[in-house]
């Protein structure tokens, strides 16, 4: 069975190759015969030989690939609906939930994950039907795909002629492929938004939207059984928003000045050699996994702050917004410095010359001419960094804690939206409980905020960008 599958795959990728060679050979032959027969005026070949070959291999490969992808997408549905009707025939069962359990068991049995003795006899009976079905479906796919490829071959081979515009056809096909590629990214985004919105609306059926957005108490427990103590959850997300805001604010307080100053130094003062070394070194910070930042925050920064805080009489909890914010700020530095550095570099040299010809010192030139000219770009760099900070999770989990705590004190432990999403979804979950659905509502809010920040950044850049031509 597997051998046939491999052979099929090999065939699907070898056939276009053969088609390519065939296309080239055929056009060459056609040209030779036309040169012999057309005595008075020879026909000019429209496209290069390579385009004819390429056209043929595309006609063979692409339709077959479409067939295979469609099969991968739709065959499981068809197969499982066939299974359901077969099992329901064998067992006489009609409850769709039970039937879907049977189907899952059957599939597990087929994969060898589940032992036969744990399975109902009717399901065991269906096993033969199932494996025959799969074998038949596979053969069906192979035949259809290879037939499509052959059809593509025959149709495209007929078109090959000296005046055939193979080059233009290949261009069109490539353009369509590009459109498809960008369509995938956009459709995925839309799909994610829709699923977020749909699940969030289910959450808002249970918890009113006003309570979610303006409630100040977050305690997302749901009773596992009726009448459990403390079973009623509270879904006021204000503490999460406040925590996110505070940590982001602390991070920005650290990252903006350091990032900006290093950008100015790199672009205006540093020698070319130093810049070539220092810039990648700073950008390396962005490549460190956030979980590494997280334990750096939890194991070094937080204890350091607590110990030194007690020296000057500050009460710090071992997990604090301050520790998470500071480490997140360090993580954000390269975003700000690298983007700002690019922006500052793109300020035209003649503005610098103009300022220094007026007798401005370098610092005056930078603060009064360069930075104002680069400001829109810098602001958008900061906004992008903020959306990065809002979305950050690992550092906060490890350094700021998980307790929803509505406080303005950066020395206390707080939690953020992203951390709560993680907390809501880890462990065994009932998918349609308010607790799980709350994650989607939080995700929707998070998505909305970062989207707005990105839109704002784009708007600022477009609106205030000076035209230096």
């Amino acid at each position: 069975m597997e051998l046939i599958g491999l052979m099929f795959l090999a065939l699907i990728f070898l056939m276009p190759l053969g088609a390519n060679i065939y296309g080239r050979t055929r056009i060459r032959k056609l040209m030779i015969t036309s040169a012999q027969t057309q005595s008075e005026e020879s026909v000019k070949q429209h496209s290069l030989t390579a385009f004819h070959g390429l056209f043929m291999s595309m006609c063979v490969l692409l339709p077959a690939l479409v067939i295979i992808l469609c099969w991968l997408a739709f065959a499981p549905m068809v197969i499982s609906s066939l299974l359901v009707s077969e099992i329901s025939r064998l067992t006489g069962e009609t409850d769709p939930r039970l039937l879907s359990i049977f189907v899952s068991k059957l599939e597990a049995l087929y994969e060898g994950v589940l032992k036969a003795e744990f399975v109902e006899p009717e399901v065991r009976q269906a096993l033969g039907y199932y494996s025959a079905l799969i074998a038949r479906a596979n053969i069906f796919l192979y035949v259809v795909a290879i037939f499509t490829a052959i059809a593509g071959f025959v149709i495209s081979a007929r078109q090959i002629s000296p005046r055939f515009a193979a080059r233009d056809k290949v261009e069109v096909i490539i353009k369509r492929l590009m459109q498809l590629a960008s369509g995938v990214a956009i459709l995925t985004t839309i799909g994610i938004i829709l699923s977020l919105a749909f699940e969030a609306s289910r959450f808002f059926d249970v918890v009113p939207i006003s309570e979610f957005l303006f409630g100040t108490h977050w305690s997302p427990q749901i009773a596992i059984r009726e009448g459990q103590a403390g079973g009623s959850g509270a879904f006021g997300a204000i503490p999460l928003f406040a925590g996110t805001l505070m940590i982001t604010f602390i991070a920005m307080l650290l990252a903006v000045p350091i990032g900006l100053m290093s950008a100015v130094y790199l672009s205006e003062y540093a020698s070319k050699r130093l810049r070539n070394i220092a810039k990648p070194a700073i950008e390396l910070l962005a490549g460190i996994p956030t979980v590494v930042y997280g334990f750096f925050a939890a194991l070094f920064v937080a204890p350091f702050l607590r110990n030194n805080g007690s020296v000057i009489g500050l009460e710090l909890s071992s997990e604090s917004a301050l520790a998470a914010g500071l480490v997140m700020g360090i993580m954000i530095i390269p975003f700000i410095s690298s983007l700002s550095d690019d922006v500052i570099n793109s300020v035209p040299q003649n503005l610098r010359d103009g300022a220094s010809a007026l007798g401005a010192t370098q610092a005056e030139t930078i603060t009064q001419v360069i930075l104002p000219a680069a400001l829109p770009g810098i602001v958008s760099a900061i906004l992008l960094a903020i959306s990065r900070a809002i979305g950050e999770t690992m550092i906060v989990v490890m350094a700021a804690g998980v307790a929803a705590n509505l406080t303005a004190n950066p020395f206390e432990s707080v939690t953020t939206v992203t951390v709560q999403i993680v907390m809501l979804l880890v462990g065994d979950q009932e998918f349609d409980s308010a607790k799980t659905l709350a994650a989607f509502a939080l995700g929707l809010v998070l998505f909305f905020v970062t989207l707005m920040l990105n839109v704002l950044a784009l708007y600022i850049v477009r609106k205030y960008k000076e035209q230096y031509d």
């Binding site: 003649n350 503005l351 010359d353 103009g354 010809a357 007026l358 401005a360 009064q368 104002p372 035209q467």
Partner: protein
């Protein structure tokens, strides 16, 4: 280098002797001797890469900002040695203004562009003083009537010719003695060019002007003296009239008659 008789009547404003400029050890100027006289327009002409712009940038030490650029020789403005290590470059540049090839107004308002120089040099006591300087400079640059109603508008919204006159206003707002112009009209259309040329003619009364230009017609129209540069040397220097009607040097003649360059 020969000099015509009536040029010696006044003392030179700028006196360059043996100025050598090297980029990365490669010589761009091979010892320039040139006297530039006050209240005249001196045009520097020559084919691209002949060193005329490099020489211009020596006068206000704009070559300082270029890495690996070394200037030697002696350049005096009145009694000041420009390349004296003790000299304050900020002060020098307040005395020597510069206008560039492409208009380069700062991304600020029209008013703030003109006020920029006086502000960094601390030339004014109060807002009234500043208003007066801005108005005076814009008037001298022939821009006042066009912008008086919109001084707070962005300078980058002006047309190219207006932007260039704004840059001239910005340069003369610090009241320099010398004005350097590096192909000030090369990015402008003929109408804007003729306005600027008229302006140069008026400004000559107050400032010593050195202009680098690719247009020989422009040199002939605006200047009193012309110097012809070729491959980092000054080939001929004298009254503009003489240079254009009876050049003494063959190379000069070839260039101005359009045979080379």
């Amino acid at each position: 280098m020969k000099r015509d008789g009536d040029m010696t009547l006044s003392t030179p404003k700028i006196k360059s002797s043996g100025i050598i400029v090297e980029y990365d050890g490669k010589r761009a100027l091979h010892g320039i001797d040139l006297d530039i006289y006050p209240n005249e327009v001196t045009a520097l002409i020559g084919p691209s890469g002949c060193g005329k712009s490099t020489f211009l940038r020596c006068i206000n030490r704009m070559n300082d900002v270029i890495d690996n650029c070394k200037v030697s020789g002696r350049l005096m403005i009145d009694d000041t040695d420009v390349y004296d290590p003790e000299i304050d470059v900020v002060e020098l540049r307040a005395r020597v203004g510069m206008v560039f090839q492409k208009p380069n107004p700062f991304p600020k308002s029209i008013y703030d562009n003109v006020a920029y120089g006086p502000r960094i040099h601390g030339l004014t006591e109060n807002k009234d003083d500043m208003d007066r300087i801005v108005k005076k400079s814009l008037k001298r640059a022939g821009l006042w009537d066009e912008v008086r109603e919109r001084l707070d508008d962005k300078a980058l919204g002006l047309s190219g010719g207006q932007q260039q006159r704004l840059c001239i206003a910005r340069a003369i707002a610090v009241n320099p003695e010398i004005l350097l112009m590096d192909e000030p009209c090369s990015a402008l259309d003929p109408i804007a060019t003729s306005i600027i040329e008229e302006l140069i003619n008026e400004l000559r009364e107050r400032f010593t002007i050195v202009i680098v230009t690719h247009s020989m017609q422009q040199a002939a129209r605006v200047s009193q003296k012309t110097g012809y540069f070729h491959l980092g040397n000054i080939i001929e220097y004298g009254e503009t009239n003489d240079i254009f009607t009876r050049p003494k040097n063959e190379q000069t003649e070839a260039y101005i008659s359009g045979r080379i360059g």
